[in-house]
């Protein structure tokens, strides 16, 4: 029914018109978004705001990974769950909301925790990944998987009144190519001591602080997709603090580490080997796989 010279439906022109007229987006940018597949790992304080803005923007396929269920203590910051969703799987709760906002997106629920065994299979179906998780074990696993599968990774974290954001493995060049962007292990070769790892559950978190970081993840993802890949401006980390005067600070980060055990030419990491990795042991935690 739609003439082929119109690449979008009339409804899509109406729905996305206000973003398509932004300079450097246009029809091509919108088509890039429509043709993209984005995976969000973690449907909590970061996953809620990032997924809702990506769904609104008209991503083609949006996958969500999380094995947790909604708890009352989540609701002050995980703003897509409703009070009646307490006890539901988080991914189901989020997707049921997103469908109402924008039914044009294809939503894929992965209602399990990410593990070394399932990570490559899940991530391989997507073009770009958002790390919205809560623990170093998952952050190393996600980064390693993205390196092995050449996927860019938009990573954010938050605690109390602070937030951090970095786009990793961008451009997502193969292992051993020094022109690729650094991975999580380039920046953090060794895991932090267990005592220094504080979760939002233990340390507390202000809702709008993690909210800002999640929305910024969506923004970096949209920019990456619209530009058709990394714009090559160099690696930076964004720090945010709501303590005292609200402030942001941009830091210039290193390139790929020539000795990185994941992304360098010295790396022995393979998709086969990934399945045998023990991230809990590596991070020194005796926690079960479900923390991932």
């Amino acid at each position: 029914k739609i003439p082929t010279k119109w690449p979008l439906t009339p409804d899509e022109y109406k729905r996305y018109g206000r973003q398509m007229i932004v300079p450097n987006i246009g029809i091509q940018g919108q088509l890039n978004l429509k043709n993209s597949k984005v995976l969000i790992i973690g449907a909590g304080g970061l996953g809620c705001p990032s997924s809702v803005y990506l769904a609104g923007a008209g991503i083609g396929t949006l996958g969500l990974v999380d094995g947790d269920i909604v708890e009352l203590s989540n609701l002050h910051r995980q703003i897509l769950h409703s009070t009646s969703s307490v006890g539901m799987k988080k991914v189901d709760s989020v997707i049921s909301y997103l469908k109402k906002l924008n039914p044009n997106v294809r939503y894929v629920a992965h209602p399990h925790h990410l593990t070394p065994q399932n990570a490559a299979e899940i991530v391989s179906g997507y073009d770009i990944v958002l790390d919205c998780t809560d623990h170093p074990t998952s952050r190393y696993l996600i980064s390693d998987t993205c390196v092995l599968l050449s996927k860019p990774l938009v990573s954010a974290s938050a605690l109390r009144t602070d937030g951090q954001l970095i786009v990793l493995n961008s451009p997502p060049l193969p292992q051993g190519n020094p022109e690729g962007g650094p991975c999580y292990r380039c920046i953090f070769p060794k895991p932090p001591p267990v005592d220094s790892v504080v979760s939002c559950g233990d340390g507390g978190i202000l809702g709008p602080v993690v909210g800002v970081m999640g929305v910024l993840q969506a923004l970096e993802t949209v920019k990456y997709i619209v530009a058709g890949g990394n714009s090559g401006e160099g690696n930076s980390m964004l720090l945010f603090s709501a303590k005292g005067t609200t402030g942001f600070r941009s830091l210039k980060m290193r390139k790929r580490n020539a000795k990185c055990v994941a992304c360098s030419s010295a790396s022995e990491l393979t998709l086969e080997g990934l399945k045998e990795m023990d991230y809990s042991l590596f991070c020194g935690v005796s926690a079960p796989v479900s923390v991932l």
């Binding site: 909590g44 974290s157 602070d162 504080v198 980390m237 830091l251 980060m253």
Partner: protein
Amino acid sequence: MSSENTIPILVEFTGGLEMLFGDERKHKLSIPSKDEQGNAVNIGWLVKYLCDKVMKDSRKEMFVLDGHVRPGILVLINDADWELEGEASYALLPNDNILFVSTLHGG
């Protein structure tokens, strides 16, 4: 405060690390320009100095492990990753800004 034998620097802590340093994010310091051997002071020297003279918390291992800044802390020299500047061997200059960032994991 400043003289020929001392240099002024600004040391900052964020990501929760400030809690180890009297809950103060910014520390304006005047440090000796030379160490005991007469060499220009570097970041390695500064880390030890912070641990010995500035840190209020007794859990030194939350900042330094095995003589190095503990894993999970980023060091920035004038807002650039210290890896770009020579890491611990970077010799401090007057008015340098040294930022220690504890990585966050929550989401």
